[in-house]
Symmetry: D2
C-alpha cells in the first residue's frame, strides 16, 4: 500500500482561480473508491502503485476534458515494503 499526493496546475486558463478545472478531477478521485483526503496543497490517496497510476491517468483525462490546454501534474508517492503505510499513520510523530 502506498500513499500518494496528486497536484494539478492548469496553465493558460483565463483566471488565476483554477477551482472549476479541479472539480472534475476531485469527482474522479471520489469515484475511484480509494481512500483520500483533500489537503491544502494537493489530494492524498491511499492505494497500490497500480491503483494510484491508473487514477493519475483518469485525473489527466478529466482535466484535459474540462478544456485546459496545458496542465502540469506533480505526483509524489511514498511506498514501503516493510510496514503498512496509511494516511492516518503518516501524520503521527
Amino acid at each position: 500500500m502506498a500513499i500518494a499526493e496528486i497536484c494539478l496546475f492548469p496553465l493558460g486558463t483565463d483566471s488565476p482561480s483554477v477551482g472549476k478545472h479541479l472539480k472534475p478531477v476531485i469527482e474522479v478521485i471520489e469515484r475511484s473508491g480509494l481512500k483520500y483526503e483533500l489537503c491544502p496543497m494537493g489530494t492524498v490517496v491511499e492505494g497500490s502503485i497500480d491503483e494510484i497510476l491508473n487514477l493519475v491517468k483518469k485525473c489527466y483525462d478529466a482535466i484535459l476534458e474540462s478544456g485546459v490546454a496545458r496542465v502540469v501534474i506533480s505526483l509524489r508517492i511514498d511506498e514501503r515494503t516493510d510496514k503498512k503505510l496509511t494516511i492516518e499513520g503518516k501524520v503521527k510523530f
Copy 2:
C-alpha cells in the same frame, strides 16, 4: 500571504522509519508561530514568502543537527497577489 508545503526526506539513515529526524523539524515549525497543518505528505504553512523561506532554513538546520548526513527538501509555494490565500480556502471547491 502564501501557502507552502514542506517535505523533508532524510537519506542514508539506518532505518526506513524517519520520524525521529522529522520531530525536531516539526518543533521548529511549531515554534515559528506561523499557522500550519500536518498533512500526510508534508507540512503546510501559511505566511509571507520571507517567513516561509526563513522557516525552510531553520528546518534544514534542525534536520542536519539531528545527525542526518543527507537530506532532500521538497518545497512548493502557492502565491497570488489578487486574492488572499488561506489554508482553509485551499480545500474548498
Copy 3:
C-alpha cells in the same frame, strides 16, 4: 506528447550515496526506448501519458527489487494539447 521528470529517493539505505539503487532504474529507462535525458535532479523523459506512467511502474519495480525497503518517487509531468512539447523545446526561451 508529454515531458516528465522522474526522481526517486530510496530511504533507509545504509549510505547517503544512493547511486547503486538508481542504476537499475536508469537501465529500465534506457530499455524503454523513450527519449530521455539525465539531469542533475532527475531524469527527464518524453512520451505519452500512458508511456510515462508505465515507465514509472517499471522504475518502481526495479528500485524495490534492488533491495530498498522504502522509496519516495517524485514525478512531474507537463502536457499540452495545443502544441508539441519536446525535451529540446523546453530549454529554449
Copy 4:
C-alpha cells in the same frame, strides 16, 4: 554546497505558453553568479542553502513583477554534509 532545482508555474496567464514570464527569472538566476544549468523541467543551481533561498526570493519578485497574478514555485534541494555535491557529479552513476 547544495544542488537545487527551481520550477515556476505562472497561473491565469492568457496563454499556455509561459516563456515570457520565465525570461526575467532566468535573467535573475544568470545575474546571481551561481553556477546553473537550464534543464527541461526546471533550472538547477549550485550554492549554499542561504544562496539558494535568497535566489528563490529574487525569482519570485521577478515573476510577480512580470505581471503574473499567481505563481506556484516548486523547489527541491539536495544537501549532504559528508561529501561535496556538484551539478556534474549528480549525473554520474
